[in-house]
C-alpha cells in the first residue's frame, strides 16, 4: 500500500510538492505523482515525525493513568513517531528486563517507536549505579539514562555516571533539582508562592545543579542533557557551557513555553508540575533560548495522572501534566506564529535534535527519497480548542483546557503506515 501526500510544503518551504510513501520509505518526491491512497495536503506542512525525549508512559505500575498502548496512541495523534519512555515506573526501569519489556510493549502497540530511558541509579534512589551497560546492550539499546523526577544530586555519583556512559555513547539526562533547596516545594518561589502560602521551589535549586553538572561534564568529557529547563538563569548557564564547547544539550517543555505561575493562583492542581511554572521573564528566556539554539529540543514531559491524584488539595496532588497531543500546537503558538522559529527549525527542535541526542537511527531524518517514511503532515491554518474530555491519553490533566491553539495534525506516518489521521488514532 502506498500513500500519496498531495501538494504539501516540505518543511513549510518552497512550492507544493507530491510525496509518495511506499515500503516504509519516502519513495518519490515530485509533481503529478500517484499512490493507492491520497491525502490532499494543499496548504499543509510536511515535517519529519516528531521525537519526544521525555514521556511518562506509566507502564508498568500505573496503568490506570496511562499504558504504552494509550500513551503511544496519544503520541501518534500529537505527530510523534518516537518517544523516550521515562524510567520512573513500578518496577523502575533500572534493569535490562524492564527496559526490554517496555520496548517490546512499544513494538507490539505499533503506534510509535518507544525508546526506554534507563534509570541512572538502582530504584532511582541516588545511591548505586544501575547496570547502565547491560541496558545499553539490551534489545532496547538504551542510550539515554535519567533518574527523572529525582535529581542525581550526589556529585560523585553524577560524575561517575557521566564518565561511565561514554563507553557506549550514552547521555545522562538530568532533572536538575537540588533536593535540599526544594524540601516540600510546591510551586515556583516568588511573589505568587508568598501570597498563596505554598512552599517555594527556587530557580537557584535548578541552576545550581545545572552549573555543577556542566562543570562535571567538562571535567570528564561526558555528555549531559538537561531536562525541562525552566528558568532564565538555566538558559544563561547552558549558553555559557555551549560557548565553552562542552557537550551539553537541553530541552524545554511546551508548558514552560506558554504558562506562568499566575496559573497556580486558583490552587488548581492541574498546574502543579515539576519543575514548576515560572515567571514571564523565565518564559521569555526559554523562548529566546529555544529560538537561538541554546535549548536544543522541545520535550513534552507528558505526565499522565489519574483523576484522584489531581482532584485534591494542591499540596496532596501529584506533579505533572499531559502534553503529547498539544506539544506542536503550543510550539506553533509560542514560537512559529510570533516568528521566532520557522517550520524548518521546528523540524530541528522537535525531531532532528531529539533524535540526535537519543542516538536514534531512522528518526529525525531528512525529507528525502529513500529515507524512512516517519513523517507528520500538519495544517498550520487550522485552530482548535483543547477539551480534556477528548484526549487520546488515558488521563485528562492537560493545562491547556479551553485554550484555542493553532495547528491540526492531519496525519502521522510510522514507516509509511498511518498511525493517526485527522486527530484520531488510525
Amino acid at each position: 500500500m502506498s500513500w500519496l501526500l498531495k501538494d504539501v510544503l516540505l518543511y513549510g518551504e518552497g512550492s507544493p510538492t507530491d510525496v509518495v510513501l511506499r515500503d516504509g520509505v519516502i519513495a518519490e518526491i515530485g509533481t503529478g505523482l500517484s499512490g493507492d491512497e491520497t491525502i490532499d495536503g494543499a496548504g499543509c506542512v510536511l515535517l519529519p515525525g516528531l521525537v519526544d525525549l521525555h514521556t511518562h508512559l506509566r507502564e508498568p505500575g500505573r496503568e490506570d493513568a496511562e499504558t504504552v498502548e494509550t500513551g503511544t496512541r496519544a503520541a501518534a495523534v500529537g505527530g510523534f513517531t518516537a518517544v523516550h519512555a521515562m524510567a520512573n515506573t513500578n518496577p523502575v526501569a533500572d534493569t535490562a528486563g524492564v527496559v526490554e519489556q517496555v520496548w517490546r510493549l512499544g513494538q507490539e502497540a505499533g503506534h510509535c517507536d518507544v525508546f526506554p530511558v534507563g534509570a541512572v541509579t538502582v530504584g532511582l534512589e541516588g545511591k548505586e549505579m544501575a547496570e547502565l551497560g547491560t541496558m545499553a546492550d539490551s534489545a532496547a539499546r538504551v542510550r539515554v539514562f535519567s533518574d527523572d523526577g529525582k535529581c542525581v544530586s550526589d556529585a560523585s555519583l553524577m560524575r561517575r555516571a557521566l564518565e561511565y556512559v561514554k563507553a557506549f555513547d550514552g547521555v545522562i539526562a538530568q532533572h536538575a533539582q537540588e533536593p535540599r533547596l526544594t524540601d516540600g516545594a510546591q510551586m515556583n518561589e516568588g511573589i505568587n508562592s508568598s501570597l498563596l502560602g505554598l512552599t517555594g521551589w527556587p530557580a537557584v535549586a535548578e541552576e545550581a545543579i545545572i552549573a555543577r553538572d556542566c562543570l562535571l561534564t567538562a571535567h570528564v568529557g561526558g555528555r549531559l542533557h538537561v531536562c525541562h529547563v525552566s528558568t532564565a538563569g538555566s538558559v544563561e548557564l547552558i549558553r555559557w557551557a555551549k560557548s565553552k564547547g562542552w557537550d551539553v544539550t537541553a530541552e524545554v517543555t511546551p508548558h514552560h513555553l506558554l504558562l506562568t505561575d499566575d496559573a497556580c493562583c486558583g490552587y488548581d492542581p492541574t498546574f502543579k508540575v515539576n519543575p514548576p511554572l515560572r515567571t514571564q521573564a523565565d518564559v521569555d528566556a526559554v523562548r529566546e533560548g529555544l529560538a537561538d539554539g541554546t535549548i536544543d529540543a522541545v520535550a513534552t514531559d507528558h505526565a499522565p495522572h489519574a483523576l484522584e491524584d489531581k482532584e485534591t488539595e494542591w499540596g496532596a496532588a501529584a506533579m505533572g501534566m499531559i502534553g503529547l497531543e498539544t506539544a506542536l500546537s503550543v510550539v506553533a503558538q509560542t514560537m512559529v506564529e510570533p516568528g521566532r522559529l520557522t517550520w524548518r527549525q521546528v523540524a530541528e527542535r522537535m525531531s532532528e535534535a531529539p533524535a540526535r541526542i537519543g542516538r536514534l537511527d531512522g528518526h529525525g531524518r531528512p525529507l528525502a527519497v529513500g529515507e524512512p517514511a516517519n513523517v507528520v503532515l500538519v495544517d498550520p491554518t487550522a485552530r482548535w480548542v483543547v477539551d480534556p474530555a477528548q484526549t487520546t491519553s488515558r488521563s485528562r490533566n492537560t493545562p491547556f483546557a479551553g485554550h484555542e491553539l493553532p495547528v491540526r495534525i492531519r496525519a502521522t506516518f510510522l514507516r509509511g503506515t498511518p498511525t493517526a489521521v485527522e486527530g484520531k488514532p488510525a
Binding site: Q186, I191, S193, S194, L196, G197, Y267, T312, E313, G315
Partner: protein, 312 residues
C-alpha cells in the same frame, strides 16, 4: 459581598467595614443575658476541621449557635493527605446533607478554595496551611478599632514567623484595604521570597520600629523552625525579636500589643507584656465570636441590620 470568605483579599473596603459594623451589633447581643438571635434559624453550618484548633472551632461554633443555626462538627479524621476520605468526598457528603455554610480549617494552603469549587453553600476559611486566616484578621481589625478608635493611618507592626503565618498574610491584605500602614519585622529567614511585592514595609530591626508603632502584633514562632536553621536558638530569637519588658517600655502610651494565640510565653512575648494593660489578647478572643457571627450572618444572606427590630 462575595459568597465565600476565602481570603482577606476577597473583601472590599465596604465589605470589611460592613462586617466590622455588624460585629459591633453582634457584640451587643453577646452582652445580654439571652445571647441568642433567631437570625439563622433553620440554617446549617458545618465546622469542618482537618486540623486541630479548639479555640477557632469553639469560636465559630458559638457564633453560629448565637445566631440559632444548626451546627454540625464534622469529624474530619486526620487529613485527606493520609489517603482516607478525600476532600472531594467530604464535600459531596456535606452537599448531600444540604449545608448552608462550611467553616473549614485545613493544613494545606488553598483547601478552602478547592472546597468552594465543589459545594453550593458558602465556604469560610478558618485557616488554611500557611495561606490565610481571614476571620482572624477581621477580629484583629475589630480589636484595633475598639481600642484605638480607627484603623486608617495606624502604624501596625507584625513581628515573627511571617513566612509560615496565615495570620500575617490575612492581616497584611485586610489592613491594606482598611488603610493602615503595616511593617513586617522578622529575621530574613522568616520572611518569604517575594515579600517586597506585598503592600507592607519590611524591617529586620525591631527596636527601630517599635517606638513608631500604634499596634504591635506578635506571632508565634514554632521551635521546630530552629531545626530547619531559620534561626540558631530560642534564646537568640528572643533577644532579637522577642517583646520583652524593656522593649515594651519603648512603646508609646497608647500602643496596643496583640497576639493571635497560642503564644509561647518567654519566647516571642514576655508574660508581663502578655498580661499587661496594653495587651488585647483576651479581647481578641472575645471579639472573635462577634466577628464570626457577623461573617456568617452576612454570608448567609443578611443584608438588613443584623438585629433589626429586635434591638433598638
Amino acid at each position: 459581598m462575595k459568597r465565600h470568605l476565602l481570603s482577606a483579599a476577597d473583601l472590599s473596603l465596604d465589605d470589611a467595614t460592613l462586617i466590622l459594623d455588624t460585629a459591633l451589633e453582634m457584640a451587643a447581643v453577646s452582652d445580654r443575658t439571652v445571647k441568642k438571635l433567631p437570625t439563622l434559624r433553620g440554617r446549617t453550618v458545618v465546622n469542618l476541621f482537618f486540623e486541630d484548633s479548639t479555640r477557632t472551632k469553639t469560636s465559630f461554633e458559638l457564633a453560629a449557635k448565637r445566631l440559632s443555626a444548626d451546627v454540625i462538627n464534622f469529624a474530619a479524621k486526620g487529613s485527606s493527605v493520609s489517603k482516607g476520605e478525600t476532600l472531594k468526598d467530604t464535600a459531596l457528603t456535606l452537599e448531600a446533607m444540604g449545608t448552608d455554610a462550611v467553616v473549614i480549617r485545613h493544613s494545606w494552603s488553598g483547601a478552602p478554595v478547592n472546597l468552594a469549587r465543589i459545594i453550593r453553600g458558602s465556604v469560610v476559611n478558618a485557616g488554611d496551611g500557611t495561606h490565610e486566616h481571614p476571620t482572624q484578621a477581621l477580629l484583629d481589625a475589630y480589636t484595633m478599632r475598639q481600642r484605638l478608635g480607627r484603623i486608617e493611618g495606624l502604624k501596625v507592626t507584625i513581628v515573627g514567623d511571617i513566612l509560615h503565618s496565615r495570620v500575617a498574610r490575612s492581616n497584611v491584605l485586610l489592613l491594606k484595604t482598611l488603610g493602615a500602614d503595616v511593617t513586617l519585622v522578622a529575621p530574613p529567614t522568616l520572611l518569604p521570597t517575594g515579600v517586597d511585592a506585598w503592600p507592607a514595609e519590611v524591617s529586620y530591626d525591631l527596636d527601630s520600629v517599635l517606638p513608631k508603632s500604634d499596634v504591635v502584633m506578635m506571632l508565634r514562632v514554632q521551635r521546630e523552625r530552629m531545626g530547619a536553621a531559620y534561626f540558631p536558638s530560642v534564646r537568640e530569637y528572643s533577644r532579637r525579636y522577642g517583646l520583652d519588658v524593656d522593649r515594651a517600655a519603648q512603646l508609646q502610651d497608647h500602643t496596643i500589643v496583640m497576639h493571635p494565640g497560642p503564644m509561647v510565653r518567654g519566647m516571642e512575648i514576655a508574660s508581663e507584656v502578655a498580661d499587661g494593660l496594653r495587651s488585647t489578647i483576651q479581647d481578641q478572643v472575645t471579639n472573635g465570636v462577634a466577628v464570626r457571627m457577623a461573617v456568617l450572618y452576612l454570608l448567609l444572606g443578611g443584608s438588613e441590620s443584623a438585629i433589626g427590630s429586635v434591638e433598638q
